[in-house]
């Protein structure tokens, strides 16, 4: 291999290795390069953030409980609530869908803003409006059960604490942005625009 070809080959190998080490380059030596590389890689969904079970594994499980409220004051519990009723035992791959992951992330930081939750609830407005009445709002509650420490379980305590239910937020399905999403969804489905 001549030197020019070897240099090109070497440059290519170094460029590929940036996928692995780029986000970890020390700022003192490489300046903001690591941030720039992380940003570029993030655009193509390559993320080097390895926080699995870190700093600690979960010590409680939270499920969302959603209720649709309609104009006439009636309420309906939505499908998500099923997790809160049946999700405390065991799970296998065939019980799971990718939507579980979104719901899991939507439960994070209940007292702070969470974009995953905001977009999930807006999506629920769209889903619930399909082929039926558009809910006035979606009320989100969370049910949390802490995992009992092994010492207490050995002493005879149950593995999970009693359920603790609390209100988290609500999403108005008549806000201009959600209305727009619902209308766009109706167009995709070939349905007439809603009246009024």
């Amino acid at each position: 291999m001549n030197r020019a070809k070897a240099a090109l080959h070497l440059l290519y190998a170094l460029a590929v290795s940036l996928v692995v080490v780029g986000p970890f380059l020390p700022e003192a030596v490489f300046g903001k390069s690591s941030h720039a590389i992380s940003g570029w890689l993030r655009q193509v969904s390559v993320v080097q953030n390895w926080r699995m079970y870190a700093p600690d594994p979960q010590r409680a499980q939270i499920y969302m409980q959603l209720t649709a409220v309609y104009d006439d004051g009636s309420e309906r519990e939505l499908a998500e609530t099923e997790d809160e009723r049946t999700g405390w035992h065991t799970h296998w791959a065939w019980d799971k869908t990718r939507m579980d992951i979104w719901r899991h992330y939507a439960n994070f930081k209940p007292k702070q803003a969470n974009d995953h939750r905001k977009w999930y609830l807006r999506g629920v407005c769209v889903r619930e409006s399909r082929g039926g009445e558009v809910p006035k709002k979606i009320m989100m509650y969370q049910v949390r059960r802490a995992f009992t420490s092994p010492d207490k379980v050995r002493a005879g305590a149950p593995g999970l604490s009693r359920p603790n239910r609390r209100f988290v937020t609500l999403e108005y399905c008549r806000s201009p942005q959600v209305e727009e999403m619902i209308e766009a969804d109706r167009r995709v489905r070939g349905e007439e625009p809603r009246q009024g």
């Binding site: 030197r3 953030n49 870190a54 700093p55 992951i101 942005q177 969804d185 995709v188």
Partner: protein, 323 residues
């Protein structure tokens, strides 16, 4: 030749050394098999997840996931997304058998980038390894061995750094994960494995009281051993490279059996006890990057012999069966 030129030549010779493509080919087959199975697990929900028929579609999707790139922000009708998905499945099959490998790998990668980018919160931390390894393999000449391309063009050597980079990726993943685990369940209490296995979100078995009984004698030491093993994985890879660079002297112990053997046992244990999507098979497939080409050859010969022996009774009654 100048001294600098000699040094440059020596360095490039070392860094750009090549090897038989069998090991990289085997890595491709195993990893792309996992990619394909993972991809097929989306069947039935493709339009619901990635097209304008999803809960968050059109402009709203572009706004919600603005930090990502996805073909499905441009091609968004349910039918078009499903056609793209079908093309992607075909590309995965071509990549798997090594047919038009560079193109197939790129199309497969494009599909994954588009799916994850279109709705990143359908994917969890374990899926990150999938995207990183997919990107790395797409950028490597994985079709030069054990492939239809190789059958047509003949096997061609591949750079040694290709397998090294997958090894490095595993080292980064384990070491970073280990160092970030600085909470008291991993250190003072040693209860991290207990809490992970007792979580009803993804446990396969409800064994809380058994786990609590095992905690002081089994799970606590195991928690600490896992933490040490993860943190040490980077050093293991560095030592492995040093050993290889020195020509594998007999006095320099090969730590692969110890470190990777522990990893295999740990991941199989995790897989048996809890749902972790495709993380275990993908990670174990990546362990193949630690096999040298001659070892990969022997492994393939062993598997072929086993398959031949199993098939033999039907075609040749004289060959004894071990079934």
């Amino acid at each position: 030749m100048s001294r600098a030129g000699q040094l440059y030549d020596a360095a490039t010779k070392r860094l750009l050394a090549t090897e038989d493509p069998t090991a990289l080919g085997l890595l491709r087959i195993l990893v792309v098999s996992i990619f394909t199975l993972s991809l097929l697990s989306h069947v039935g929900a493709v339009a619901d997840y990635f097209s304008d028929a999803s809960m968050v579609g059109g402009d709203a999707a572009r706004e919600a996931f603005h930090s990502r790139w996805s073909l499905f922000f441009r091609v968004s009708s349910p039918a078009a997304v499903q056609v793209c998905f079908a093309i992607g499945v075909l590309a995965h099959l071509c990549w798997l058998v090594g047919l038009a490998t560079p193109v197939a790998a790129f199309v497969s990668w494009l599909l994954w980038v588009s799916m994850v980018g279109r709705n990143p919160i359908l994917y969890a931390l374990p899926d990150q390894l999938h995207m990183v390894v997919c990107t790395l393999l797409m950028l490597m000449p994985t079709g030069r061995g054990l492939s239809l391309d190789a059958r047509r063009k003949g096997p061609r050597p591949v750079p040694v750094w290709c397998r090294g980079l997958v090894q490095l990726q595993l080292a980064v993943m384990y070491t970073a994960t280990g160092l970030l685990k600085d909470g008291k369940t991993w250190h003072e209490e040693g209860t991290a494995l207990y809490y992970a296995l007792a979580n009803p979100y993804n446990r396969h078995f409800d064994l809380t009281s058994v786990l609590a009984t095992l905690q002081p004698w089994v799970l606590r030491p195991m928690t600490w051993i896992v933490l040490v093993w993860e943190c040490a994985f980077g050093a293991f890879v560095a030592l492995h490279w040093l050993r290889t660079a020195l020509g594998r002297p007999r006095r320099f112990v090969d730590l692969r059996w110890l470190m990777l053997g522990f990893g295999v046992a740990m991941h199989l244990g995790i897989q048996a006890m809890m749902y972790v999507a495709w993380f275990t098979p993908l990670t174990l497939a990546c362990y193949v990057s630690f096999l040298r080409p001659d070892e990969a050859d022997r492994l393939i010969a062993f598997v072929r012999a086993r398959v031949r022996r199993r098939r033999a009774p039907a075609s040749d009654p004289a060959v004894p069966s071990d079934a």
